[in-house]
């Protein structure tokens, strides 16, 4: 039986100066999934916002068309359900509380049911998420993927309700979130997507939803290794202090930790297709003697059954030679910069929103410099819609007099998307 396997590459400068106790590394993981016919079963739940605000004809109609596209993209045999979300939830298709199995008949019926949707009511996203969780919980599907579409804020409940639901549902399914228009809150959807290891994005024009939904479903269909875990072993008296995905987007995994062993922690990374992701790992170690080499971290990629699919090692060697410890690993430097870039954008936009132009200018200027340095063209383009760039290299910028809300939210949403390292290695 062909097993998936994962390549694990560690980029680091393993040389540390005398007395240093922090080891940084970038762990790049590439999945090699098994052949198509061996791929795991998949189920998708689509959570459509049907609150009153969606009633504007263009939005609801676009959402319905997007749902049609999503249904058409389901492969035969996939489990699926369409749920209408308001201050409560309504099963659109199927009308039982069990997932339907995709086929010509069910796809047809589902689309007819979607056509019947009407808007009205409030927004209580925790209930939507719990409804998806309940559908998945009663099923045997290995890959569980939800898509949440909203156009507004979570107004019908306290924020704690969502936090509580996420704590409960974490690692039981993956959820991509899409906000249409500009009346939703980036922070609300980001909280959900980060907890459920999905993506978040803004859809400016309702019409764009169709291609976006189809793409999301296709991507979900391509996932072929469910519930992959990054297992980090550290020496006794050492500790993992940072674990975050840094490619394709910044995603802090610290909250996704489970202790596997007194010296090892597991970090859920969700389902994988044939893809490459990079993770930043920082370990606090007790400093050893000059000349000593320590295995600071064993990195394993582990599947749901505990099978090890790939391995890597993070080392540390103490030296008195600055020529060794002085060099910064290019990958580590690059992704450290990408994380800083995302943080600077976030801080800058927060300051901008809270009426602190000085901080906003400073942070966004830093972001421009970091984007220029890493040749992150996409982010640079988004930044230049919020600030006028006078000198990209030094990060001299001026806030635009009026910033379009859509540009603000787009930059915010996509601030976490990183770029790979350009140039020669």
């Amino acid at each position: 039986m062909e097993q998936p396997h994962f390549d694990v590459e560690v980029a680091q400068n393993r040389y540390l100066p005398r007395g240093a106790d922090t080891v940084d590394a970038i762990v790049t993981v590439t999945a090699h999934p098994p052949a198509q016919e061996l791929r795991p079963s998949v189920a998708v739940v689509i959570l459509l916002d049907c609150s009153a605000s969606m009633h504007r004809p263009s939005k609801l109609a676009a959402a319905k068309r997007a749902a049609h596209a999503a249904i058409d993209s389901l492969r035969d045999g996939a489990g699926f359900a369409i749920v209408a979300g308001t201050h409560e939830t309504t099963m659109i298709y199927p009308d039982s509380s069990e997932l339907a199995v995709a086929g010509d008949t069910t796809r047809y019926e589902a689309k007819r049911a979607v056509d019947e949707i009407t808007a009205g009511g409030g927004t209580a996203m925790s209930r939507w998420l719990r409804a998806a969780g309940a559908l998945f919980a009663g099923s045997e599907y290995e890959l569980r993927h939800a898509i949440l579409l909203t156009d507004g804020r979570n107004t019908s409940e306290q924020p704690e309700a969502v936090s509580a639901a996420l704590t409960e549902l974490q690692d039981t399914f993956r959820c991509d979130c899409r906000g249409v228009g500009t009346d939703w809150l980036v922070s609300e959807l980001r909280q959900i997507s980060e907890a459920l290891l999905g993506t978040v994005d803004i859809v400016a024009e309702p019409d764009e939803l169709v291609t976006d939904f189809a793409a999301m479903i296709e991507r979900a269909m391509r996932k072929s290794v469910p519930d992959v875990t990054l297992r980090l072993w550290t020496p006794k008296e050492a500790a993992v202090t940072v674990v975050r995905q840094v490619d394709p987007a910044v995603l802090d995994l610290t909250a996704h930790q489970e202790n596997a062993h007194v010296q090892a922690c597991d970090y859920a990374t969700g389902a994988w297709e044939s893809e490459t992701r990079a993770f930043q790992v920082r370990i606090a170690v007790p400093a050893a003697g000059v000349g000593d080499t320590m295995l600071a971290c064993r990195v394993s990629v582990v599947d749901a059954a505990g099978e090890v699919l790939g391995r890597g090692k993070v080392l540390a060697t103490w030296t008195d030679d600055p020529a060794y410890y002085g060099a910064l690993d290019p990958q580590v430097a690059h992704y450290t910069g990408q994380v800083e870039l995302a943080t600077a954008i976030r801080h800058g936009l927060d300051a901008h929103r809270s009426g602190d132009p000085d901080t906003a200018t400073h942070e966004l200027g830093r972001a421009v410099a970091l984007a220029a340095q890493s040749e992150h063209a996409e982010t640079m383009k988004l930044l230049s819609k919020v600030v006028d760039v006078e000198d990209a290299e030094t990060g001299r910028v001026r806030l635009k007099d009026s910033v379009d809300e859509l540009d603000h939210m787009t930059l915010d949403t996509r601030s976490v998307v990183t770029t790979r390292r350009h140039g020669r290695s």
């Binding site: 297992r231 202790n259 596997a260 062993h261 320590m294 394993s300 090890v308 391995r311 030679d321």
Partner: protein, 469 residues
Amino acid sequence: MDSTVMSTRCPSCGEPARPGDVFCEACGGRIGESTAGAAAVPPEPRAEAAARVTEPPGTEPRADSFAAEAMTRALTQWPVADLPTRADPAWPIAEPPTRAIPVRPVGESPTRAVQGGPAEPTTTAEPAGPLHESAPQAEPVWPGEAALDEAAVRSPDARTRITVTPVGGSVRDSQDGCVHCEYRDVDEDGYCLRCGLRQPTGRDRMADDVGVVAGVSDRGRVRESNADAMAFGFTGDAAQPEYVAAVVCDGVGSGAMAGQAAQNAADAGAAELLGCLADGLDARKASTMAIAAAGDAVNALAEPGPAEEDTPATTYVSAVVTGAEVTVAWLGDSRAYWVAPGARADAAGAHGGPGEGVTCLTTDHTVRNTYLADGMRAAHTLTRWLGADSDGTDPQVSTVRPDRAGVLVLCTDGLWGYLDDPGTLAARVLTHGSAAGAAAGLVGYALSEGGRDNVAVIAVPFPAGRRWP
């Protein structure tokens, strides 16, 4: 000579390695900084090596250790590979489900027989005692005093037998558990399963003892790897060898290439030296031919094209000790000292400062640097060396005929950098009762003084064949 049958072995498991390999294909262990492709080893029969280990009474038959080792390799996995389920987060560290049993054969420090002449190769079974002064050794054979002036009687088969240290350096001493935290389990790559620290690898500390000559080399306390190397052996019978030959090298630079260059030079130099001597060449001619062979072995490492940073180069000092003479040859600043109780050698052609009972037989090929305060390395710059960018080998050769029994010491600057007073050397050599003890003692001294550099020390009692003067 036999410089074509070359291979290198993993210091951990003995698996043959390809030239340039840094990690062993079999066990994943680090092969060491000097997995040169150049040194000659006929495929080494491991069983022979094991059979030659002296067994203390009451221990398990050593042959089991290989089965045990194989089993360990099969059993030993990363501790993360099959952790218990999440339901059992409090799995006690003291009871991991898999366990590395340290099984390296104790005291495996095999000498090796190579073909030394036109005759059939003979495998010698000279026991190599562990490097302890108390180790059981064959009763020392002391040639008569007359032998000091006369060449030892040549046995008919002296030319056919050469005994040399293992190519690539000795295996490290066996160790039960982690040398750092004493936790009992160490993984197959040498990393402790508790503290994560790597165990010393083959080149970090090397020690070998063939009775009539012994040496120790250590990484020191500051450098990351050991770029010093040594090789030695003798021709003929261990009880009465015709020639004892030794080579010490100090790789230039601190990278992996430095250690590789040094070990290549030492291995090739010692093999050629002993081969030439067995073929009947005189000590001086054999010494220069050995340097040429060592130079070839170093240059073989050089990559074609511009190689600016990691060019292979090394110092070199060799000694040939017979019943009557000591011949030293050198390039660079590794030294040979004559140490005798209370007298100086008849140092014809020898240089170096005086000292009570100590004569330095070599002159450093260095440019004196005025900034001595920068430490030993910065204090001298080599003017001659072996390997890349060297303007041809231009070794110095010197022969002395000591008038009494003594000890020849070959060492790198890792030792002599701490010998402000040569008298220290005499005191530290002569308090020991064996070559192995003296070499270990001198290395220990360098380490206790700070171990700023790698250190390699070989001690050869004179006249050849004596266990101690």
